[in-house]
């Protein structure tokens, strides 16, 4: 097995919440410590799912853990997330989700009614996403150890032979497609915790994105060069990772990035950047310019994909940078999320 050499050094003395927030610290932990320790050549790609070839079949294989507080929130619950998060990681790897393992970590004292509701949510979401639950595990930990319940799901799916995504294919001139408005999930969760007195009718956007991706790949095939679901760390972190991996610049046209009024309002009040807020039911794709219109058409033709738009393009310089360009021509850098998004006071 060839050695995986860390490009980044992990020198933090302890693990903090930021290491799980999907931004810079998470990347440092993964690339600087986890990947070098466990790594083989397959881990090097650090995609949303691992792509493995078994007996001639190209499979995507992934796992994700869900630790959300509160367990239920407008638009969904931990059960929906546990299914959609994992099937979406498969989908953005170009795979049709097929089967799931579900592992439950339950806290002593959890009401069985709550558990049953979440199990039903898992079953319903799996049906909706077209996957079967084929196994899993259950553990119970002491009271006070698990915020009610944690769920880990692992998923597997067959990679569509027409899907050939890799940051290496991304070139200047390519366009950045986004499937819909950003930030709904993150802001919904923030408000559902009840720590801030803001009333909105926002709902989490949790949903499977495979139908949109199926239409996209079906129509333009290898014209799709890269895909990602911008969960923790938001659109900004996903695109910064792409800019770094592909050594390109990404220019976003600020006006075109769809953000709902309520999300924008909450971000204004709390001093947060919508592009750093987590999403659960959206995906980003880089498509070749010659098939851009067809690609957009394909996504928009699927129910739920109507709000898809192009938000920017790939450029050559300044490499490894994401820029946002305002309607009046101001240019600013959009960096990765640092730590957890922390609201400003004034």
């Amino acid at each position: 097995m060839p050695d995986y050499k860390a490009q980044i050094r992990f020198s933090d003395s302890q693990i903090e919440m930021a290491h799980g927030a999907g931004g810079k610290a998470s990347r440092r932990l993964i690339e600087g410590l986890i990947a070098p320790a466990l790594g083989g050549p397959l881990l090097e790609a650090l995609g949303d799912a691992a792509l493995v070839e078994i007996a001639g079949a190209r499979l995507a294989f992934t796992a994700d853990s869900f630790v959300v507080k509160p367990l239920r929130f407008p638009g969904g619950s931990i059960g929906d997330l546990a299914v959609n998060g994992t099937v979406n990681d498969l989908a953005v790897s170009g795979a049709k989700p097929a089967a799931l393992l579900v592992t439950l970590i339950l806290e002593a004292g959890l009401s069985s009614e709550v558990l049953e509701v979440e199990l039903r949510a898992i079953a319903a979401a799996a049906r909706h996403a077209g996957v079967v639950v084929v196994g899993g595990d259950t553990k119970v930990v002491e009271h006070g150890m698990a915020d009610g319940m944690y769920i880990t799901t692992a998923g597997i799916g067959a990679v569509d032979p027409r899907a050939t995504c890799s940051p290496k294919l991304v070139k200047p001139g390519d366009r950045i497609l986004l499937s819909g408005p950003i930030g709904d999930h993150g802001i919904t969760i923030l408000l559902a915790r009840g720590e801030i007195d803001l009333e909105t009718d926002l709902r989490s956007d949790t949903r499977p994105v495979y139908p949109m991706i199926e239409a996209l790949i079906g129509r333009v095939g290898s014209g799709v060069k890269w895909m990602r679901d911008p969960t923790r760390g938001g659109v900004a972190s996903s695109l910064n990772e792409l800019a770094a991996d592909a050594r390109v610049a990404i220019a976003l046209f600020e006006e075109t990035v769809p953000v709902r009024e309520q999300v924008r309002g909450a971000c204004e009040i709390l001093g947060l950047e919508p592009m750093h807020i987590a999403n659960e039911g959206q995906f980003l794709a880089v498509v070749a310019p010659e098939c851009a219109e067809e690609a957009l058409d394909a996504v928009r033709s699927v129910a739920g994909g109507e709000e898809a738009v192009f938000i920017g393009e790939v450029r050559e310089a300044p490499a490894r940078t994401v820029l946002s360009i305002s309607a009046y021509g101001g240019t600013r850098v959009v960096d990765m999320l640092v730590g957890d998004p922390l609201p400003r006071i004034c």
């Binding site: 693990i15 903090e16 810079k24 001093g271 300044p318 240019t331 960096d335 922390l342 006071i345 004034c346």
Partner: protein, 371 residues
Amino acid sequence: MKFVDEFRDAHLIRQAAGEIRRLADPARHYRLMEVCGGHTHAIYRFALKDVLPDNIELVHGPGCPVCVLPMGRVDDGLSIASDPKVILATFGDMMRVPGRNGTPLEHKARGADIRMVYSPLDALKLAEKNPDREVVFFAIGFETTAPSTALTLMRARALGIRNFSVFCNHVTIIPAIRAILDSPDMRIEAFIGPGHVSTVIGCRPYEFICRDYKRPLVTSGFEPLDVLQSIVMILRQLEAGTAFVENQYARVVPWEGNLPALRAMAEVFELRPYFEWRGLGFISQSALKLRDSYAAWDAESRFHIPGIRVTDPKAAQCGEVLKGVLKPHQCKLFGRECTPEKPVGALMVSSEGACAAYYNYALRTTAAAAV
């Protein structure tokens, strides 16, 4: 969004920028200080420099509350949190500000009970919910946040909540502006006046700047058009050779301020004889403490506060940046030892801090200019 979108209209922004170009004398160099951290944030967030002529230099002032808090006060606050009985509550801005042995977030990761709250009232609610614990609110901020701390203390007293106290680090803006005006490095021609602070104190307290120092001040809102309009108003004054206080942000800032808020502050707080500011040193009568009648809720009388004094790391030039003598990237540590992830100085922490704003939004502007 109402009251936001109107102030981000690209056409109007270009118009205002054109007006600034017309007014600015190409033979002159203008140094304007935005006092408030919110303006610093907006200037970078909306890349306003890109629409301004080169001879208008915006200098960042001392108006970010976490940036001006010396490291010793952070350590003092964290020392209270080392008592296992205590829940220390503070704003999100404070969570990443480094003390000598790490930030509040790092102390929390090591087991201290430190919670982020969105308002002091939330800290009071924590005290009600945890009657067997001591909840201490680590209060920071200018006149913008001081009234809500005052109202919370009045409420705590009215409800007789005894397990709640405030570690008060509220500061007042006027003495800081005066310190800058009196500094020998002073080269500022006019001020973009703080918007949020002014909603409380009004515009009158700034009059001395114009009268005694002959510098215009325009109280400004935080949208791109607000800031540009304020610059237009300043340039008109400079051109006419006048210096007075103007209120660009009249839709929010009453000239006389917010009287009930001022009354609440007067009821609860009094001026400290002196207080240390990061970068500016000790400034007399520049900060607030709780009055004796609120001693029962004053963390400084209820807990042993070590009164730690820490000098900033030698190479850190936070003071110079705070006074507007250096630009953030001219600090030797900028972007190397000091980044938003591992900040050395507080200016790199809050998005209102000049260094963080500069790093987050403009770090690669030279490269970006090529795009």
